[in-house]
Amino acid sequence: MRDMMRPYTGTFGMKEARHLLCRAGFGATYSEVTAHAKLGLRDSLALVLGSGVIEDSRYRNWQHKRAMSARVAIRGEIEALQGAWLLSAVASPFPLQEKMALFWHDHFATANAKVDDLVAMNNQMSLFLHKGLGRFRELLGAVAKDPAMLVFLDGSKNSKENPNENFAREVMELFTLGIGHYQERDIKEAARAFTGWQLASGQFRFVKNAHDSGSKSVLGSKGNLGGDDVLDVCLSQKHNAEFLAAKLCRFYLGKVPPRQQIIEVAEALRQEKLHMRKFLARFFASELFFDSAYRIGRIKSPVEFVVSALRSLDAKFSATQLAKRCRAMGQELFNPPGVAGWPEGRDWINSATIAARYRFVTDLAKGKDGILKVRSKLPERTQLDELSFVLLGMKVKPPRRFDALIENAGFFLAQPEAQLG
């Protein structure tokens, strides 16, 4: 069997550019897709990975929205915070960064329903944004000491008299290894290693007196292990790369590839020392990423659906309304339903959520909660083809009754294919 992580050698045209921009980010306008197609895979990928020159006003606009998140978090307005994040994802000149932040928000699922501190939640999201494309070890270490995570998994109350297994269990089960690759005793021992990791005035603090300094044995490693040692031990397990590879494939390809391909992706991850930007540079340029088996069929999450609709159409929408719409579609940012994050794939679609998607599309086309910049006075066949291509990935002839371009946008977004990407 051929290595699917080998560099992609096929053509890089409009379809491939759209595929890259949809999966690595949140879609793009027709002109952006055209520009990327002209650049070729290598240069296009360099832009996606954030090495291009960004227009100053665009960067400033995005920074303003990031700063706004911090202010609304202080005011304790969760809907505004959700909306501000969505707006920043729409405006971001670095969509891959935002997309990875969304991935990590799901991977390290933390809910404000329990944390009850929006400032901590927003700081955690900033952590995902800043470290999400760096080394996984660095991110894992920071998340393990993140105040929101410590509160969410009861790590803040971890002492040698009363070691809390919750955090240790999730580190192994959900963050690094997955079920079946550790024993119950490993969790008990790891919990002892994490003792003393506490919160003081909302910040992480290591309380030496509360730490169990005795000898522990975790996943075969023995000694006076601390919390950071346990994280290193987890990452040194061979299952760690495979666990992450499967999760990344499910997120970016829409389904988990066969085991052999997972092993190849995991090997690439190991070779890049779990550095996400370096790994994704290889992944997005691989035969696997452009394989026809994974080009269609990935159902967009609600956040991806609304953000990609707005980015593709260069449209605006009320931020607080966006947050409400995402919730109605089944995804409430900063409040995942459990420690395992949100469901994926076909679970996003049911009779209630598909109706919510259609309502959003209708209101978007009506301009009910925002203005569509795509508005054009004279719809022509070429423009409709462009619109159809960016939203559906194919040329579709709309019914003749639609006169304005925005109505056609609504028609295209209501198609089943628009839910995929």
Partner: protein, 550 residues
Amino acid sequence: MRKLLFLCTAFLAVVPLVAASAQQPSHKIPGDCQLYLEVSHPRELVRSVLGSNLIAVGRSTNLLAAFTQEKGFQAITKIWQTIEGKLTGPASIGVRFGVAGPSVFFCGAYSGNPDLKEIAQAIASLDETFRPTDRGTQKGIRWLALGKAGILGVDKEFLYWSERPSSLREVSRLKDENSMGNQRRYLLAQKESRQADFLVLVDTEELLKDGELDEDGRKNAFEILLLKGFIDDLTHAKFGYAWGTLGDVIKLRARLVNKKPRSKSWQLLDRSHKALPSVPNQSAEFHLERDLAAFWRQRIDLVPESGRPGLAQFAQTMNIFLAGFPFSDLMEKTGRGIDIVVRESVAGDSPPDMLLPEFALVLDTTFSSREKERFMVAYQTAIGVINADAGEKRRQPMLQGSLQVDGIHILTARFLADPNTGKRETEYNFTPSLAFAKDKLILSSSSKLAADVVHALQSSNLEDQKLRQGDRLSMSGPAVARMFKLNRDNMIEARVLSEGEDEDESAAFVDAVTSLAATIRTLRINHVSLPKSTVWDLYIKTDSLDRGKK
């Protein structure tokens, strides 16, 4: 609600800029036109709109956003430059709301050469984007498509322009004698507006058919209490028209014609009442005639099912606070006059993040002295509960206090300073206060305003106050503008969140609204309900409004 916002904005944007004298229109209105504006001197109107910053006011609306988007705005300017001087008589602007937003058309009496070549060539030379294409003739109108600029047409009498080709069909109806549904309404409106400078005709039934307003007005008890009477006016109206005269004082009058009698159970009252004495530096006063006792009795019918548990919870909480005095009994002793006094806030020791104005709610009551005392105790209990909650939320508690003004005891409270930072919770300039004076209950966001209201009530003889009927709102534009300036950053942020706009766009909107408010020296709104119609009067006294000169 968005359509209503559009109407209000369009109205505010256009009206102060029109300078005209009345002339009889000679053209007809399309049958399905939902908003129709007629002016005698369109050149001045369009010039004013294009030249002033008021165009930015419309950024939030679909219509004016379409105008101000770069290409469309340039197109209108260029078309105008081309046809300027060729319009001689009255003109109209019509708007039809569709699924894809409003479509706009313009029609003006034309005395130039009906050959379009001259105009087409002039436009084509301006920008290659607007290269003209002859689209042929329809119902006597010769049409010329102008790319993204819209579509231009001409016949022997009129020059037509529409920003969207789909409006071609609508504009063509100008020539159709059978689609004159609006003509009867127009004639009716014209009778009342003979001396007016302009006339706006609105098909309210069509505009509000999706029920947005009705839904908006029934979300919770407070909105129902505040808005339901006004919303009933709108939702029961067949159509409306507004006309006005322009001068140093701009007078606008609007009439809504009802299609059926409005609900008798809950409507605006028009009882004459004594004006509340003004307090120093007052920015605005809002007056409402609402029978609170009747509202409380009818709450089950008035409030939707989803809002009833909240209301029951509120009553239960009040019963606990009042400890033995049933809240419903107190509600029976409330009167009909509700006044809201608004005043500019003055920054305290530490600059606040958000400088909201101070406001006071003044309600007529007939409480006994014992009931007044218990109500004051209930207030203190409520502050205690807020303090208990503040502990959980890691916020600073409020220290209760009191002051005496003209022999009246005012209860108040203020946030304690943060022991770590020394800062006080000044975000909302909040020193909630409560007092009873002259059988009025005063609930104020600020102890200073409460003291001034008490002093104003105690030192004036209410019987000597002017009797007034239907006055709803009086407002000082510069005071509102100052408040907008102080809260500029917060308003921009709120708009970014609510509209999804970029910072620059929001800033342009906020600045434009602030500029507009600053030009209005005073604004007064009067409202009278009649059996078959409702009349709104707006008096706007402006400062240096540079009409049509830019």
